[in-house]
Amino acid sequence: MPSFWNNRRIPLAWLLLTRQPLRLLVALAGICFAGILMFMQLGFRDGLFDASVTVHKLFDADLVLISPRSMSSISMSGFPRRRLIQAMAHQDVVGITPVNWNFLLWRNPQTLTTRSILVLGFEPNDPLLVDSKFSSKAKVLTSRGRVLFDELSREEFGPIPKMFREGLTIETEVAGKRVRVEGLVSLGPSFGADGNLITSRETFLELLPSNPPGSIEIGLIRLRSGSDSKSVANVLRKNLPLDVRVLTQEEFVEFEKNYWRSSTSIGFIFTLGAAMGFVVGCVIVYQILYSDVSDHLPEYATLMAMGYRMKTLLGVVAREGILLAVMGYIPAYAAGQCLYALVRSSTKLPVAMDPQRALIVFTLILFMCMSSACVAMRRLVDADPAEIF
């Protein structure tokens, strides 16, 4: 038998908490609520950053050219397509794909309302996405006025995937011009774009005649396998004029995330939301522990009179804090999982429980409970054993 088990004492902290089930329940509900709030806010924040790059991650590219004036996916500027062709001069570059990228108005074929949708235009024979099945689907785009619709787009665009599977011909308007949905792809909406549409550059330019034909928003560059994308990017940066920005695939993803993180208030708002959950939790746990200590003050004084050390009694309060943290975290974690699933299914945002966030929230809850316990301990100093006679 291990010695700690032999030397154990009456589990006073546990008994103090559990013999008042109603108060414990209130405390756990409060901690759980704070935990859920933190899970949701941090989940939304991280989900937003991940969601902002759903399309970015799918591109089949090692390097990406963008205009230096482009701030994010929702405000892409054009740059001369010549720069992409110039990049071919590098020996490690094996392929390029010029891509047009803009938001156009899509008319819902059922309700006839319009909504902004992200339209990507590329040469149908070029590779665009990593998905190997995509190139065969893309063949239909060689005909004019044909588009591929993202089946994960939000429902406000109309029940396109359902209609398409039923074999209906779907014709509608994009930017006031007639298009026909000729296939489905699976990309996923982001915070910037509620839906996606892929078409040929030819159709794209027809939909958006003001776009100069020699101007593109994104240039995808594929490198020989085994070559170092960073060093190639450096060479291209040196050789290409300043009207184009060279990014690696990771930098491209980071460029987009960084916009949402630093240039919008969204990251701040969600962090603030999580902080508020933390503060609310602190107040609740403090209230519970403080009144718990106050209610049991004569009993703590009795224990002191019996010869228990102050340290032991402080340990009891600290243990109450730890127990509350663990017992409150478990339901918060479970509820967080359920709510993430709900958010995923209703908003199609990639929100999931990642172990790092689970750990952060647990640490915050533990910190919340322990700091509240520390403040509640100050009440314990008022326990005067001379008063109980």
Binding site: T302, L303, M306, G307, M310, I388, F389
Partner: protein
Amino acid sequence: MTSISNNEFIKEDSLISTRPAVQIHRLSHSFGRGATRRKVLQSISMKINPGEVVILTGPSGCGKTTLLTLIGALRSVEEGDLFVFGNQLRGARRRLKQLIRMHIGMIFQGHNLLRCLTAEQNVQMGADLIDGSSYRVRRDQAREWLRAVGLDDQMSKFPHDLSGGQKQRVAIARALAARPQLLLADEPTAALDSVTGREVVSLLKRLAKEQACAVLMVTHDPRILDVGDRLMQMEDGRLVPSF
């Protein structure tokens, strides 16, 4: 926290058990400040020997309880000398007071049991103060003590399910479970009827004698005055010679 090693505390072992459990010399104590300052204890001198049962009586407000809390190391000594098991309590540090308290059993007027613990667990809170024995041993000791006070069948009951006399018996068991050398009892019969009160006090005396534990019992219940080996009377903060 000031650390005092255990050997700074003079333990009462068999060789020096002749040393008085409590020795008081010209002990005075006052409450309040300035004009409202009032002396509650005036130059008290007394001695309690190991195994002796002393009853302290007197009208309410005469300073009995103050004396008890001073001996119990729950208050700081202001004036005079107070030795418990040979340890000077005037100017004693917190750690020493806590060590002394570990060897003093206390029984309160309002039993002061922990509401969230069963009778058995309450008694074990006393037994848990003794280091070096396993949980099982301490639990068995707690059961033993409850049996000794005649509560074999009430072990898993909570304090609010027990009668006043039963609660006071649990309190006695808890105090004795820590194997004290001195028991301080403040009006242990106050909440009890005469028959139960007498029973509880007799039990307390018998068990204390078995443990060679000195007892100082404060009471103004005239029905139990004869239980003690010695009777002391207090009036206006002074000990009056008893007869």
